[in-house]
Amino acid sequence: MRTTAHTPKQEGTSSAKMLRAMLGIGILSAFLIVSAFELTLPRVEKLKAEALEKAVFNVLPGTESTRSFGINSQGKIIEIAKGDTPEYTLYAGYDKDEKLVGYAVEASGQGYADLIRILYGYNPKEQVLIGFQVLESKETPGLGDKIEKEERFLENFKALDVRVTSEGLLRNKVITVKQGEKQNAWEIDGITGATISSRAIGNIIGSSTTEVVPVLRRHSLKMDGAKPLEKQAESNE
């Protein structure tokens, strides 16, 4: 590939022609891109929503419909408008009676190879985590990716204790322990051979729950049903 500058100036290629060509192509490109975007938008959004719902249903068994929320930097639950980037993203799941099943919370942290993004389901009534799913990870196949597949590991998240104290703080921080040494309900039984990855999960859930669970717990009682958030009265536990 030779660069443009090699060629000597030819007659007729004035700056205007260059400008015209570039602008022409730019406008053409804009048309093409926008039409592609507009055409695919509905389907892309639908697919995305479906995928999300699938994940939420997975971590919150029994969910029929979802709504997404965020927690802002002041620790308030807000509804997400387009383009917002809240501190934590979460989805409330409701069963067929429109009753709250729980919250699906997104969290992420450094894993063995790269960032791990997960979704976990929180049941505010029982004060336990009831589901867990890895959204994105680059952990070593066959080793680190056991956190996604190994049944015994996923078993941990059927009822992981995240009770809140009366002061509104998490009673016990979630932690990963060595495989086979789980003693308390708030401990995650780790995976030998994927120690780093399973610990990373513990860390991610641990730090996320410490922040998120107290907030959710505070609000959960008031958020029954599909009532809009704003109309709920503030009250203490």
Partner: protein, 194 residues
């Protein structure tokens, strides 16, 4: 939400997820310019420089596009900005130092089509890095690219004087070395995870 420290970002981009050896970005110049240490270091520096500049530009563009709500223009604006940056750098070098231009030869325009540079811009956006983080990320990626290039160049220079079997001469050998180096870099996995 993102709790990575700047050091972790740098190490991650340079070693753990080395752009060449783990993400396969910038393979073309990697194969082409890694024959001699001298050119490799020059190329590495050039790429690093362009990376940082385009990373800054990309951050600006991303902010702007988010403001006007036109994410679909992201890719095309990134590449346009990178292309013009490279073009400028190239012309500048050609004017200032023809010998440097000749030694980098046809690979300067190739920086335009160097996926590593576009990769930095795209990944920093995907990861939601801020300005400082983006620059550090680009620096790390550039350093990692240069490191990989230098390592391979050193080995290839040494292998110029080896009885390499006819069948593994050329690109195949470079790829084999790259593969082994990629295995080596796996040793850094998890660096900064704790």
């Amino acid at each position: 939400m993102n709790t990575e420290s700047l050091g972790t970002i740098f190490l991650n981009a340079a070693l753990v997820n080395n752009f060449v050896l783990a993400y396969f970005l910038g393979i073309c110049p990697f194969l082409g310019v890694s024959g001699a240490v001298k050119t490799a270091s020059k190329m590495g520096m050039a790429v690093m420089f362009v990376m940082v500049i385009s990373s800054m530009c990309a951050f600006g563009i991303h902010t702007f596009l988010a403001a006007i709500n036109a994410p679909y223009l992201q890719l095309i604006s990134y590449i346009v900005v990178i292309a013009s940056t490279v073009q400028l750098v190239e012309m500048f070098i050609k004017k200032m130092s023809p010998s440097l231009f000749r030694s980098l030869g046809i690979f300067l325009p190739l920086i335009t089509t160097n996926c590593a540079i576009l990769g930095v811009a795209l990944f920093q956006t995907n990861k939601g890095y801020g300005f400082i983080e983006s620059v550090v990320y680009a620096l790390g990626a550039g350093a990692g690219f240069t490191l990989a290039l230098l390592l391979i160049a050193g080995l290839r220079e040494q292998l110029n004087f080896a009885d390499v079997p006819q069948i593994s001469k050329g690109t195949a050998l470079t790829l084999f070395i790259a593969g082994i180096l990629s295995l080596c870099f796996m040793g850094f996995a998890g660096l900064g995870a704790q």
